[in-house]
Amino acid sequence: MSTTDTAKGTAVDRQGFDWITFLSRWGTLISLGLLIVLFSIGRPEVFMTLRNMLNILNQVSILGMIAFGLTICLVVGLFDLSIGAMATFGGYFAARFLAELGAESGIVVALVILAVLALSAVIGMLNGALISYLGISAIVETLAMSFVATGVILGVSGGRTVYSTDIPEAFTIIGQGKIAGIPNPILILLLLGLALWVFLEHTQTGRNMYALGGNREASRLSGISFARHALIAMAISASCAALGGLVAGANLGAGRPQGVGDVYLLNAFVAVFIGASTLKPGKFHIIGTAVGVLLIGVINNGLSVMGVATFWQYIVQGGILILALISASLNTVRRV
């Protein structure tokens, strides 16, 4: 940690160009660019169309929402493994409540959505409270919470999916509608990203979170409450995951009690860590996460459009993540 410095001017002083610094900052974006070029050459008539670009964004929108939330708690230095279960939670309970209420009106739908997000935030705050007040490992606490949440969803649902016939149109429109030709999930993703970017970079709470992630004890001695910010961060993370699951549910027109969030859990971590090797090596940030999410989307879409067997998607994704980690680490390693 004590090694990140090279104040702006230093690189210029040296003879020649500082490739390592350059790569560790831009490597991820360059590989994103290279992949896009590659796929565009491979299938120009398909890949490089506005429609496919929107398609890629739409495909990653839910992953993106979950990854954005995860970014916040990683900024504070907390791992949240409950996001998978929380996504399932959000999707299932929104659908279930709406089915129980049987109301069609947009206001009821909005209220139910808010209620589900608030409920998720409360669960996130419970995570934050256990982690901060008892000082227990976030990784394991959230893992435990995901077991509990999975059990509760299965218990409440009896394993049964809530189907579209019971779900009001005003809800499914969230996942299936478009505004000005842009699918709603993309719009939600962009709004969420913008809001969280402003939050992290331009508000006091966001700056305090970076401080806590950098040096928790020094932050406490500066009057910043770890508990308070852990609560907020975990609440945001849980709500974002629930929002992702909810949009997924709206897209599917179904409230599934299982198998919604698990798919996104690992990919969200991949995206956020790829992001932490982008532009600001070693730092979690929203723009980086957005790049990571896009990279995953482009890999999966591009390989699929090129007709490459799907197991390659796993290999390429894992490989790019390893490369991203290596490039982010170069800066640090060469100093010792």
């Binding site: 398909v46 169309t49 429609r51 496919n52 398609n55 739409n58 495909q59 839910i62 299965l154 009896g158 394993g159 049964r160 999916t161 189907y163 579209s164 499914t172 996942g175 299936q176 997924a248 897209n251 599917l252 027109g253 179904a254 599934r256 009690p257 299982q258 198998g259 919604v260 698990d262 798919v263 996104y264 999966n300 699929s304 459009v305 007709g307 799907t310 197991f311 998607q313």
Partner: protein, 297 residues
Amino acid sequence: KLGVVAVNYNSPSIQLQADSGIARAKDLGWEVELFDGQGDQVATNNAAMAFIDRGFDAILNVASANTQMSGVIRYAQENEVPFVSTFSGLVPGITADIGSNNTADGVIAATELAGRIQGTGHVAALNWNVLPALIERQRGFEAVMVGFPGIEVTNIEIKVPGQVDDAYAQTTNLLLANDDLKAIWVGWDELAAPVARAIEQAGKADEVFVVSQDGIPEVLELVRQGGPVELTVAYNVKRMGVVAVDVIADALDGKMPSSSLLTLRPCLVTEATAPAKGQPLDFDTCGLFSGEGVGTN
């Protein structure tokens, strides 16, 4: 141009359906693109929408629940693109689903089971009540059981993922806790092997038998060997892909199928009718009722 989407292409039986369909389409000289959702239903839906946007002539959905594709189906309808699915359930708006009547097949399997224990005794049902097809099968099973007050049923929900190991552990526990167990009904073939293993391990291979549905090669072989797995209701997954493509071809010619649920004849596989090792099941000759197996022998 045909767009094929599968929510999880890595599952062997889904792969079989998709591959046979794709081969058929290529025979017809079509251009085919496949999308594998890797378990992500939302991505699968988006891919199908993208196919429609890109002007594909038809969508073939391989085993992703149609109930979760209502948006895609509506969009296909709006764009007048035939939407045919295999094994994905009947919902309004699709051109056709090529599959089987899971409820009816559940009834067949359960009736066979009840017959073998003469309508009395303790049986267990292992299932995962999340997938629509599996729920339908269980419905068929339960409908039969209502008619047999002498049969006591223990229902067990299997944990997914981890279904294979969980089925093994749960069966072991069941056998320990219930000495009177006579038979186990499992919702799908993936559970048959671990359940059979647990029965053998408990030394109850002669007392407890297993009834299943799907007819994957592994279970056909288990049935042939005469172990605890006594029967499975086998589906002609390979033909589903072919039929689906044929239905699409007709639909593109303006000939809509007679019904939007096209069920293929399943096949009851018992020790007597199981194919030789490594051989596929011959759906043209196999019977749907256990008596037919006796008859042809």
